[in-house]
Structures are given as structure tokens and as C-alpha cells.
């Protein structure tokens, strides 16, 4: 980790008294599950880019998301969800790093759930992409960042096409979503375990659903640049 142990202790001293380990984890899990449902909506809209109708249906959907009052309220809830998930993720991670001040000399050979040890790392990659995504779209929409010349700040369709025509951006996009897939693969099943919904009867089903969800969502988003590069 990047912080010395003492800094972590001081940073954490206030948080520890207020939220127990399980409460922190449950808040993180519930916020995460909320984000999981949001991702499906976002993917649904993005896949309209592939409709082949010159962006008509995509623009309509984006317009609906930008103007519908219920969605406007949910946008605030969504930002709250991201914030809670990241803040509690950070609190939990800092506590976890502090709990073993001296590490083992030999690398761990314990069998673990795939990629589960790297949730923080994959989360950071997704967070970096999120910042990029905000600069490219949300900040443009609200007028904080100037749109590229010739494109209206509300024209998400042409903005997307312009971005995907850039090979470098497409590469960053693909790597980010690969990491999102790694994150989601463990996230959904872990969230259910954390909120206490785990039982030998359906633990297998939850795992399979979690993996399928990760493949569908990450794969679904990754199809888009490939379609722009290969098909168009």
C-alpha cells in the first residue's frame, strides 16, 4: 500500500468508532448491488449504438435519461451509490492493510476465490476509467468541459463515435472493462455473502449468476468498440 501504517491508523481512528466491520461491508455491498443494476441499464442504452439507425434510438434513450425527472433524482442516488461504495471500500481496505503490519516472507499459496484478492486494484482501474468517462461525457454535458469542435454538448452519439474512432481510447476502454469484468466476477457473489444471503442450497447458483453477469456486462460493453472498429 502507499501509506505507512501509522497514517492509516490515524485516518481510520474516527471511522472505526462509528462503523463496525460488518456494517461497513454491508453498506459497501448494498451500494455495489445498486451499481450492478445500474450497469445493466447503462449497457442496454449503449447497445442502442449498434442499432444501425444513425443514432436515432440511442439519442432518444440518452435524451430520456437526461430529462426524465425520476431519472434526474436517481442520478443523485447513483452518485451517492458510487461515493458510498468507494468510501467504504477504501475504509475497509485501509483497515485490512493495517491488520497485518508485518507481512510473510513466503508468498501465500492459499487457494482463494478467483481474483478476489485484487478487488481493490480492479476497483482503482474502474475508478480511473470513471474519471475519464466523466470528463468525456458528464462534464461536457453540464458544460464544465468544452465539447470537441462541431459537436453539440448534448450529442452523445457523435461524441461516442468520435471517441471510438480513436484506437488509443478504444484500448483504454477495453482494458478498463476487462478489469470491470474481473471486479464484477467476484463482486456479485461477495455482496450476497456479505449481506448474509448465502446457503449451501443456492450458493452455487449465486456463483454462476455472478460469473454470467460479469461476462455479459463486461462483454456487452466491450462489443461496442469492436463493432465500431470492425463493422463500421
Amino acid at each position: 500500500m502507499f501509506f505507512p501504517i501509522e497514517t492509516i491508523r490515524i485516518m481510520d481512528s474516527s471511522a472505526r468508532t462509528r462503523f463496525s466491520s460488518i456494517t461497513s461491508k454491508v453498506i459497501m455491498a448494498l451500494a455495489g448491488l445498486f451499481l450492478v443494476t445500474f450497469l445493466l441499464v447503462h449497457l442496454g442504452i449503449n447497445l442502442l449504438l449498434l442499432a444501425g439507425d444513425g443514432g436515432q434510438s440511442f439519442t432518444a434513450a440518452a435524451g430520456f435519461m437526461a430529462t426524465n425527472p425520476v431519472i434526474r433524482i436517481f442520478e443523485v442516488v447513483l452518485f451517492g451509490g458510487f461515493l458510498l461504495h468507494m468510501v467504504f471500500g477504501l475504509i475497509v481496505t485501509l483497515r485490512n492493510r493495517a491488520s497485518r503490519p508485518l507481512r510473510y516472507q513466503h508468498k501465500s499459496r492459499s487457494e482463494t476465490s478467483p481474483l478476489s484478492k485484487y478487488m481493490f486494484h480492479s476497483g482503482v482501474v474502474v475508478f480511473v476509467f470513471l474519471i475519464l468517462h466523466f470528463i468525456d461525457f458528464y462534464f461536457v454535458k453540464v458544460g464544465l468541459v468544452a465539447p470537441p469542435s462541431g459537436i453539440d454538448r448534448h450529442d452523445f452519439y457523435r461524441r461516442s463515435i468520435l471517441l471510438f474512432s480513436d484506437k488509443g481510447y478504444s484500448a483504454i476502454y477495453l482494458v478498463s472493462f476487462l478489469f470491470l469484468g474481473f471486479h464484477l466476477n467476484h463482486a456479485v457473489q461477495a455482496a450476497f455473502q456479505t449481506i448474509g444471503v448465502s446457503h449451501n442450497k443456492y450458493i452455487g447458483t449465486i456463483k454462476v449468476v455472478s460469473i454470467l453477469y460479469a461476462i455479459i456486462v463486461a462483454g456487452g460493453f466491450m462489443v461496442i468498440p469492436f463493432w465500431f472498429i470492425l463493422v463500421r
Partner: protein, 257 residues
């Protein structure tokens, strides 16, 4: 068999400590891991060197005293056994074996490979018991217990409190231990009475001792010598949330004259 051992040596809690390399020869494949260490210690004593300190007691795999982080795994390479039940036939001739103490801020090293696991005792003291009245012996089966519940309780009660879960966890979390202690009581009617208070007390003590948070890697389940399931952790989370959100409050009666 011949082995190169890299053993963590540390004079006391204040000492910095480090790995020291030893060679052992003429080890029978059927000798236990501890018998091999006993032979090393005999050598060291003959040389006038302080023998390696390590925890062991029953050497039957039932007491939970032994520990040792061997080649990156608590209790060594076998599944479902404690270090005392590990034999040298599980290694190859000529192997280099790393032997380290459990690593966790809440388990400070006392000497060499011995750590202080009294943090676990503090968690148990916080609520890992059932308060009973003394008196006559109750008749058998006066309180019915459903068989599936008693099976699950017995599985959780198999925990010997060795700390392998903490040692293997990337976050040094004690949640498998605490959840098994909560589960084996919460599943039985005798333990239900104090269940809500117990889970809150034990979790809060666990947090205050500086153990990490479970991130569901399930390394604990893979390394537990008693193969205790992480389903217990989900049960603990459920119990904790139920206690946090739905526990009845004691009525405060105020008297006025």
C-alpha cells in the same frame, strides 16, 4: 530425507527477528513435521544454540495449539489437517521449507514461531458462551433441537481456535473463527437466548482488537484444518444485521413518588 529449513527466529516480542537457514539430514519420510523440528532442536542444543520455540500440545490434531505458516500455507500443504498431523512424506527430498509464525497485528510474536493468540480468548470472553443456572440435571430432550440445526451447530463447533483462518486471510480477518463461535450457539435453542447480545459484543471486540475485514477470498475455508464453511460468516452477518436493526430494547421504567 534432507531438508533446508528457513525458520523465523525472534528472541522476544521487541526483537526485530529474521529468517535463519538450517539443514536437517536423515529424516524419515514417516516422521511428523514436529518430530523433524524436534530433531533440529536436538542438533541445536548439542551445538549450544537456543532451540526453535514452537507451539504444540496434543499432537493429535484436536487441541488447536499448533500453528506454523509453512511454505505460504497455514498448517502446511495438506488440506484439513493441523501441522502436528503433517508428515515429511508430504514434501520432496531436498526441499527448502519456509517456516513462519502467524502474521497478524492482533497476534504478536512472543518468541520464534510462537504467537500470542489471547485475542481469541478476549473475543470468547465477550460473549462466546451460554449463561446457565446451576441446579439439577435437566432431562434429556426437554428442549427439542431440529436435526439439521444440530448438524450445522456441530460443524461450526468443530473449530479448534488455532487461528489458521487469520493467518491465511489476506486481510488477517478473524471472521471465520468468530462466525463459527457465533453459529454453534446461535443455531441451538440454548444459545438463542443471548444470541443478539453475543453477536454484537463479539464483533465489536473483534474489531477493537484490530483484525481485518473479510473480503470473501475464502482462503480461510481452504486452510481451516477443521474445514469450517464460510456459510458461517454469512450467518454471522445475518445475525449481526438482525441484532443491529431489530433487537428489542429493554423497557426503562421510571418511578415517581
Amino acid at each position: 530425507m534432507i531438508f533446508t529449513l528457513k525458520i523465523w527466529r525472534q528472541k522476544n516480542a521487541a526483537d526485530k527477528g529474521g529468517l535463519v537457514t538450517y539443514k536437517v539430514e536423515d529424516i524419515s519420510a514417516d516422521s511428523s513435521f514436529f518430530e523433524m523440528l524436534d530433531m533440529l532442536n536436538q542438533q541445536l542444543i548439542a551445538q549450544g544454540v537456543d532451540p526453535v520455540a514452537f507451539d504444540h500440545d496434543c499432537r493429535e490434531g484436536i487441541c488447536g495449539t499448533c500453528s506454523l505458516y509453512i511454505n505460504g500455507r497455514p498448517h502446511g500443504p495438506l488440506k484439513g489437517v493441523t501441522t502436528c498431523q503433517l508428515h515429511m512424506r508430504s514434501f520432496n527430498n531436498g526441499d527448502t521449507i519456509f517456516i513462519e509464525p502467524w502474521r497478524c497485528g492482533a497476534f504478536p510474536v512472543i518468541k520464534d514461531l510462537i504467537v500470542d493468540r489471547s485475542a481469541f480468548d478476549k473475543i470468547i470472553q465477550a460473549g462466546g458462551y451460554v449463561s446457565v443456572n446451576s441446579g439439577g440435571i435437566p432431562d434429556a430432550n426437554t428442549i427439542p433441537v431440529p436435526k439439521p440445526d444440530s448438524d450445522a451447530a456441530f460443524d461450526a463447533a468443530a473449530c479448534i481456535g488455532c487461528g489458521a483462518c487469520v493467518a491465511s486471510c489476506p486481510n488477517a480477518s478473524a471472521m471465520l473463527f468468530v462466525s463459527s463461535k457465533i453459529s454453534h450457539l446461535a443455531l441451538l435453542p440454548q444459545g438463542r437466548v443471548e444470541a443478539q447480545h453475543r453477536v454484537q459484543q463479539m464483533v465489536s471486540t473483534m474489531d477493537s482488537l484490530g483484525f481485518g475485514n473479510c473480503s470473501n477470498t475464502y482462503a480461510c475455508e481452504a486452510e481451516c484444518p477443521k474445514e469450517i464453511s464460510v456459510v458461517n460468516i454469512a450467518r454471522m452477518n445475518r445475525e449481526f444485521l438482525a441484532a443491529l436493526l431489530f433487537a428489542e430494547k429493554e423497557k426503562q421504567i421510571s418511578f415517581s413518588l
